[in-house]
């Protein structure tokens, strides 16, 4: 498989240097993956697989042609078909791209224990030990423990002379316990992932222990009554909040051809209190949203999205940067070589403020401490996200546990209602990821410190 790949790459270099168009790129990848999935006492699957793929994207006369394939031996044919596809359109409004320097570089994931050198036995035993912990209460009805690793060789070439290679290793685990009592079935789930070797998933028995304990504790928790609350978000929820509620708005493809969105997302506009600073940083190798280069061959940047409460930047692809006459940020990403890159986040976070966690709690007479996260969704104006659970706060003290803590609101009002930001930022990523435009899951990470938000709508009976 590797021979094919390097032959195709050599062939691609020749073709791309001779093509006549505004812009073209080729992406090729080969990958090998292992997956183990356990459920209570049964083995659901132990899988290994390999994937090859490639795509050619050509911008000609202002239109894009895109061809994808899994046969690497006839690249010329797919070049022709992408070119024909682009020329089929007589574009009235033309696509344009920002140019950058054609970078030549090679990257490799630093791994302490390359998972190629770890036996299937050892991988199986590790996830099996976590699975045993997930079952460790007699209230557990079922579990799901999954391990996954992927080794990918990814090559990127473009008509600017970029010649990039990334030998990437990605792995993670996903742990779930489902507790049951009478008619109540209560799941709880955690996942971690990242770029690196087998060391990333070792010694996570504490995580499994937290999962089983939380699912059992939640069995006896009552649902939180609906209403408006002052809410302290824990670092993980702060992260999901900023990813869902604001991050997607900062993706320029939602803005660049929409005059009314442009007005709303005008740089310099007040978005929140002065203590609010938000960044997206693709160049952080230790985080799950790391990219050494984006899927248009652009190096990632640290982009300040909100500075002192004011909108200060946004995320771009070559096309949106060119259309809006702004700098490239390296945020064009695809979930695989057979999909077109679109504007996506990488590692997005709310930066530390100055308050301590204690000071934030002391400021709340009555409210909710919302902890952990099940999911989040936005339509760029309203958002809904579900906390893992919550605790009632009375006079600064965290009390009784509640489940079904589902927060919802208007993005802009909620950002303005941020009252305090802590100094204890943490980052999170998992085996899942972000979804947009039918491309899911894309590895990302998100995070922030503890944060107090007022007037948050919580749905309930």
């Amino acid at each position: 498989m590797a021979d094919n790949f390097f032959q195709a790459l050599e062939n691609g270099r020749k073709i791309i240097s001779s093509i006549s168009c505004e812009y073209a790129d080729i992406r090729l990848s080969v990958s090998e993956s292992t997956g183990i999935s356990l459920s209570k006492e049964s083995v659901e699957s132990v899988t290994s697989g390999e994937s090859v793929g490639g795509s050619v994207r050509i911008l000609k006369n202002g239109s894009w042609g895109f061809a994808t394939f899994n046969n690497l031996s006839s690249l010329e044919k797919y070049f022709d078909s992408a070119l024909k596809a682009a020329m089929m359109v007589n574009a009235v409004e033309k696509s344009v791209v920002s140019k950058s320097e054609g970078i030549k570089a090679s990257f490799v994931t630093p791994a302490i224990r390359d998972f190629d050198s770890v036996s299937l036995d050892e991988k199986f035993e590790l996830i099996n030990s976590y699975n045993r912990m997930l079952m460790s209460s007699d209230k557990i009805q079922t579990t799901h423990a999954a391990y996954r690793d992927v080794n990918t060789s990814y090559a990127y070439l473009n008509s600017e002379g970029a010649d990039l290679f990334f030998d990437k290793s990605y792995c993670g685990i996903s742990l779930m316990s489902v507790a049951k009592s009478g008619n109540i079935v209560q799941p709880f789930h955690e996942s971690i992932s990242g770029f690196g070797g087998f060391e990333l998933v070792l010694d996570k028995i504490n995580l499994a222990e937290k999962v089983v304990k939380t699912s059992v504790d939640l069995l006896s928790a009552e649902p939180l009554p609906g209403g408006k609350y002052s809410v302290i978000l824990d670092p993980k929820l702060s992260g999901v909040f900023i990813h869902e509620a604001f991050g997607h708005l900062s993706e320029a493809d939602f803005v660049h051809e929409n005059p009314r969105m442009k007005e709303i997302m005008e740089l310099g506009r007040d978005f929140g209190p002065e203590i609010l600073n938000v960044y997206d940083e693709g160049d952080r190798p230790e985080l799950s949203g790391y990219i050494p280069f984006d899927d248009e061959g652009v190096l990632p940047a640290s982009t300040a999205l909100i500075t002192k409460g004011v909108l200060s930047g946004r995320l771009h692809s070559r096309e949106t940067a060119c259309k809006m006459d702004e700098e490239l940020t390296g945020n064009a990403r695809a979930i695989g070589v057979m999909r077109q890159p679109i504007v996506r986040m990488t590692n997005t976070y709310i930066d530390n403020g100055t308050s301590t966690k204690d000071e934030i709690f002391d400021a709340v007479d009555e409210g909710i401490y919302a902890v952990d996260v099940i999911g989040g969704q936005t339509n760029l104006e309203m958002f809904t996200f579900t906390a893992g659970y919550g605790h009632i706060i009375k006079n600064g003290k965290s009390g009784k546990m509640f489940k079904d803590v589902i927060l919802s609101g208007n993005v802009f009002n909620t950002l303005k209602n941020i009252k305090m930001i802590g100094n204890d930022k943490e980052m999170f990523g998992g085996l899942g990821g972000c979804g947009k435009g039918g491309q899911s899951p894309l590895p990302v990470s998100f995070g922030g410190p503890h944060m107090l938000v007022e007037d948050v709508l919580i749905g309930g009976k």
Binding site: N4, V43, T47, S51, W64, G65, T68, V185, F385, G459
Partner: protein
């Protein structure tokens, strides 16, 4: 290919089965009211299950030259499998191809023109609107080979259109709404533009409704979201694991008489049909819930065996995954009322079209809590403007027990053919 697999499996193999899929598609993407890109896509893949002395291993590849190597990898994972006692079929038949010759008439240039007209019609109603569209044609084949002598292939065709509109009102209020359609061959979709235009027009007026309990009407696409929560409770996997509220409930009346769920592999016009499932079982149309009574589950061979029931032809399988139970198509028995009658009978209520975060609650229990992305007030028997910044919540199982009505009109959305549903006393927070 058959011989290649036979040559590669070890002598002591109890059985094997393999799928080989191939596909070609031409998706056209429209962004912000214009054609954005023309794509040509090709893919194929091979996945194989090998069973030795009861234990199953699995592997896959999409490298056309990698078949023998894949069988070897599958064999290497056999020792980790658990003992499985089901038998693969030998009597699979192919009665049809979910393929329509009309797919060959797909012409990208004329599709671009047709979509352009569609977009301009919406734009003429709302000049600042942003419309994204995708129009796609694909053909492919699915081949199943097993050691019991099955070697069958069917051909598929698929045409789909989706259009998504985003309109920002002065002051920043955003209206997002979409429509889609799928078929075996290129088909007319002009009527979708007026649906979208009317919905947006209605959304321009914002209404108020106090928190409380109200009747809610779900149009077919919204019905699908709610029914999906109960449908997942009928999945044999969740039943066997004891996490489905419908486990051990066969023969019991759990829901209102008006409530039913049917697994329908042959919904008319649907491109989501197949003559046999991923393991070679021929599917049939079956009531899983009839007049509120639970009658059956959906299973693949593995969960049929674990639950001690007959296979149902519900094994979904891509080349890169093991089979797992999944609905062929979901439909319900139609009711007596019309959508119009339902509206007429309401003093104060809600038509709920789109949700944000519907699936993020504890759906195993049937709980939901969702922001109303797009919903309309019903007042004195008439649909009014939009309800905004509000949520509905409750439990789908409880709601379907209570006084529900289903409409006689049915609409197909993808693999769902569903009525309007009238729900009583849904919690609304604003």
């Amino acid at each position: 290919m058959r011989n290649e697999i036979f040559d590669a499996v070890p002598k002591n193999t109890s059985w094997f089965d393999a799928v080989f899929v191939k596909g070609k598609s031409t998706p056209l993407t429209f962004k912000n009211n214009r054609i954005y890109s023309v794509n040509e896509s090709e893919n194929s893949g091979f996945g194989v299950r090998v069973n030795i002395e009861g234990k199953t291993g699995f592997s896959f590849t999409n490298d056309p030259s990698g078949i023998a190597g894949t069988v070897k990898r599958a064999t290497a994972s056999v020792p980790y499998g658990e003992i499985e006692k089901f038998k693969i079929p030998s009597d699979t038949v192919k009665t049809f191809d979910p393929y329509d010759e009309g797919i060959t008439s797909f012409n990208p240039a004329s599709e671009i023109e047709r979509a352009g007209k569609f977009i301009r019609e919406i734009e003429s109603a709302f000049p600042s609107i942003s419309v994204d569209m995708s129009v796609s044609s694909s053909t492919g084949s699915f081949r199943l080979i097993n050691s019991k002598g099955v070697d069958l292939e069917y051909h598929e065709s698929f045409y789909s259109v989706s259009a998504s509109c985003s309109y920002v009102m002065k002051g920043g209020v955003k209206i997002d709404t979409w429509e889609s359609l799928s078929d075996l061959k290129p088909t007319d979709y002009k009527h979708l533009s007026s649906l979208l235009i009317n919905r947006i027009e209605r959304s321009l007026t914002i209404e108020k409704l106090n928190s409380g309990k109200y009747p809610v009407i779900l149009p077919p696409a919204a019905t699908a979201r709610f029914i999906g929560i109960i449908a997942s409770g009928l999945n044999g996997q969740g039943v066997w694991k004891g996490v489905s509220p419908l486990a051990d409930k066969i023969g019991e009346k759990i829901f209102n008489e008006a409530f039913s769920i049917i697994d329908d592999p042959f919904i008319p016009g649907s491109p989501y049909t197949a003559p046999f499932d991923g393991e070679g079982i021929n599917p049939v149309r079956r009531h899983l819930i009839k007049k509120g009574v639970v009658e059956g589950y959906i299973v693949d061979l593995k969960y049929a065996n674990k639950l001690g029931i007959e296979p149902t032809g519900n094994a979904a399988r891509s080349y890169s995954s093991l089979p797992s139970p999944s609905f062929n198509g979901i439909t319900m028995d139609p009711g007596d009322s019309s959508f119009h009658d339902m509206i007429k009978g309401i003093d104060k209520g809600i038509v709920a079209e789109q949700f944000i975060g519907l699936g993020q609650s504890n759906t195993l229990n049937g709980d939901f809590s969702a922001n109303l992305d797009l919903a309309f007030l019903v007042e004195n028997g008439e649909i009014k403007g939009r309800l905004k910044d509000c949520m509905i919540s409750g439990n789908v199982y409880d709601l379907m027990k209570s006084d529900i009505k289903t409409s006689r009109e049915m609409e197909r959305k993808g693999s769902y053919l569903l009525p309007y549903i009238y729900l009583d006393g849904v919690s609304f927070t604003s």
